[in-house]
Symmetry: C2
Subunit: 553 residues, 2 copies
Amino acid sequence: MTTDIAICRAATLLPIAQVAARLDIPEEAIEPYGRVKAKIAPERLPTATSEGKLILVTAINPTPAGEGKTTTSVGLADALNRIGKRTALALREPSLGPCFGMKGGAAGGGHAQVAPMEDINLHFTGDFHAITSAHNLLAAMIDNHIHWGNKLGLDVRRIVWRRVLDMNDRALRDIAQSLGGVANGFPRESGFDITVASEVMAILCLARDLADLERRLGDIIVGTRADHSPVTARDLKADGAMAVLLKDAIRPNLVQTLENNPAFLHGGPFANIAHGCNSVIATRTALGLADYVVTEAGFGADLGAEKFFDIKCRQAGLDPAAAVIVATVRALKMNGGVAKADLAAEDVEAVRRGGVNLARHIENIRMFGVPAVVAINHFAGDSAEELAAVAEIARAHGVEAILCRHWAEGGAGAEALAHAVVALTETPGQFGFLYDDDLPLFDKINTVATRIYRAEGAVAEPAVLAKLARWEKTGHGRLPVCMAKTQYSFSTDPSLLGAPTGHIVHVREVRLAAGAGFVVAICGDIMTMPGLPRVPAAESVRLNAEGLIEGLF
Amino acid sequence: MTTDIAICRAATLLPIAQVAARLDIPEEAIEPYGRVKAKIAPERLPTATSEGKLILVTAINPTPAGEGKTTTSVGLADALNRIGKRTALALREPSLGPCFGMKGGAAGGGHAQVAPMEDINLHFTGDFHAITSAHNLLAAMIDNHIHWGNKLGLDVRRIVWRRVLDMNDRALRDIAQSLGGVANGFPRESGFDITVASEVMAILCLARDLADLERRLGDIIVGTRADHSPVTARDLKADGAMAVLLKDAIRPNLVQTLENNPAFLHGGPFANIAHGCNSVIATRTALGLADYVVTEAGFGADLGAEKFFDIKCRQAGLDPAAAVIVATVRALKMNGGVAKADLAAEDVEAVRRGGVNLARHIENIRMFGVPAVVAINHFAGDSAEELAAVAEIARAHGVEAILCRHWAEGGAGAEALAHAVVALTETPGQFGFLYDDDLPLFDKINTVATRIYRAEGAVAEPAVLAKLARWEKTGHGRLPVCMAKTQYSFSTDPSLLGAPTGHIVHVREVRLAAGAGFVVAICGDIMTMPGLPRVPAAESVRLNAEGLIEGLF
């Protein structure tokens, strides 16, 4: 079988200015990074006269079988371009750290990829490094402030701002810092998260422009005084320097699909402790240039689509025109109880049993007033009966299911999906949020738990409720909530596949991301600094004699 | 007074391809990074038919009065171009971290600068971030290896590989890591250095090509087993992945002077625990394209020039054609005992007293067989008598001293220096190293101490000598030595200005940089992770309404 990387290397990429020309991006707005990557300066673009239609690609709950959400996004964008619709992608940038753990990149697959795969998965245009620098400058300024007298009266036991690296490094999860004597500051406990978990990442992805970015950076709460009053990055005078470090990173990156269609890749916040979508600036830039914009949200629709609608669309004033729910026969079979090793055998009943997962995601998307279609991402072993079973489930819930072969065929394999999406967007949708801004914070959590996860309800210890009450008093009560739970189940138990009911959502901890503008509700164990596996992919990564990377993908 | 940044912003920069065209760099070798920065792919350049002449710019011992070594390098390169000599610069990239401590960048000054100053001082083309990633990947792989069973038998008490960040952050100098329980590994002490102190930085700057880079990365010794036998990055299988992370960083960066002449800025290792010069690849690339290449070494000639000759030229087979020793009247007065506050008053005698410092540097440079000239970097308050005194000192030691006004006038102000340098290079030099490869390691240290620093001798504790003996047995005895001492004095006491004699060089500690290919001899307190000052520059850095950076320079 030809690998993703072999397919990617065999593609002929256009000079990035030619890709930009497809969207009539003027030359003065293009900052090239090599020959096939560029940053686009939104302020140098002509004012948009119309607004493109925004298509969200989301999915059923992920399983080890794979769903192919990014692959479907790329295939759909290529297909829309093939049928004559001026279309751009708006996707997340992958994180460098995990590349050295497990083999495999994150830029689509088969004949539905964005390129150049190696660069995109490594340093790309340096955005994540800039975020790392900005985040860690704030951390250094916190400890420096304390070292020189702590005028702001920060309680060193109550500092919540950690440091970040774009690296899988378990040794940095928990550290004791400022050891070694007077010159090195006051010893305290702290640690590192991976860069995608940084609030600076979430901020970059939700900011409308540089001024909004700087304001949000200033709003970051780094910790509190002994009386619980918050200390912000603005109090530390770190916001200006952080914005300076991010002045290039805030510009969306332009690359291309293997079929030379424009793709904006920009930002990549976690989909658990953050909202899991590419930047608002990239989405808005794309909408101003194209007639259709295909975007994606992290994990399944319970986490990804809900946050896309309730956090990103709410903050950015976006109006999604349609949603594509990606499903595979294999993943539905796993949801229906089949083990990964047994996926090759035909099992129509298992597809039907697992179909309850798809059915519930369809219901949820429709609850937001967004017209939807199911994309069945075709795998070689799928049987006609299994595929028919998926279509039947979709139809029973009022939506179409389209078989897509973009992995094998590129955009040509997703033309039917493209036509279905165009048809959906021709009737104006009735998009609305799940909850209003003025609902109390815990009621927002409970609304997501009961209406999206179909739980009996959400519960939390008094200390958690007290925190929420405090934030409502400090003016943060109108923020949306960002649920951090397992992506594998509607519930907080990763082993409860299908469409569980009767479960309870335990909110273990809440965190205030005042700069990003949401309250994180942590339900379960969420890892913010991954480790490397026993045999990390890094061990087999190297440049071969022709200077090509081996072992990474 | 017009500031450096105002002068830089007022300059008209050429598109980088036009700058490259001045050196006949073919378009396929240019990787643009925005409009006025590029990386050059040396493997896509035509084979050089001749080799340019290499001019080293060095200086007297630095003082708080400032010498202007980079400024003089830029002025000289502009002047050489003005008098019709095809000339390129090869300089170090500045480090991002210190920018947020003290105000001020590192890209020349006045009308002798490289541009764009903001980009060069911030993320530039991402080289330092790539070095940070490669360095920290090795660190993560060390702890991961131990976590999963420690097959190599690393002694966790004897790991010498720390982590790095391009940040001034004293809180990270000494940490306890891997706390928090079984899942986070085995607790141990460690810490962070600033990225410029990374051995990966020194390696990138000494490697001849990608293959040599990977070999050197593999040679890095991360620690030892209990029996003192070394464990390398190659043993951990980290070398391939580290090379992949550095595949773009290894390409030299091309920018321009304010007079639009080509300048390669590439790499920037510390000048104490490392050798303090730009990359061999940049120097060699420049030599293959230009008739004259102006380069620079860190600190004064006792540290910078000695390491340039004995480490960089030795490893890379470079043959320097001439050296320029930068001096200022103000700095000589400080060497002659005048306090900084009193520098404005004319004091010819102080210049003569401080002149012993200049005289000794002249003698030292001539000891290497390199023809030299003194560049007097003119300051507004210098009197004619003071300037005459400097010229007299130079003449008495057999070299010319040329008054230079490049800070105020750009290349036009350094034309006399350019003519003098061209004249020097017309007679072939007789360059030779200070010591031979096969001299025992401690004898090499002693040779530098007695012949360059004019000390009575070097001394070290038995434990230090035992380490050197061990490395001679493991095949590292032929490496050159890299002295880490104060830059302010020929001695190891920063307060001993002028030309001290009778002092002793105490070697407190030695470190083996097996990948970079030198043995570091630490003589005094060397800080490898700076801290931020009481009021860091970061507090006043911000973007103004026009999107321009304020407060950084």
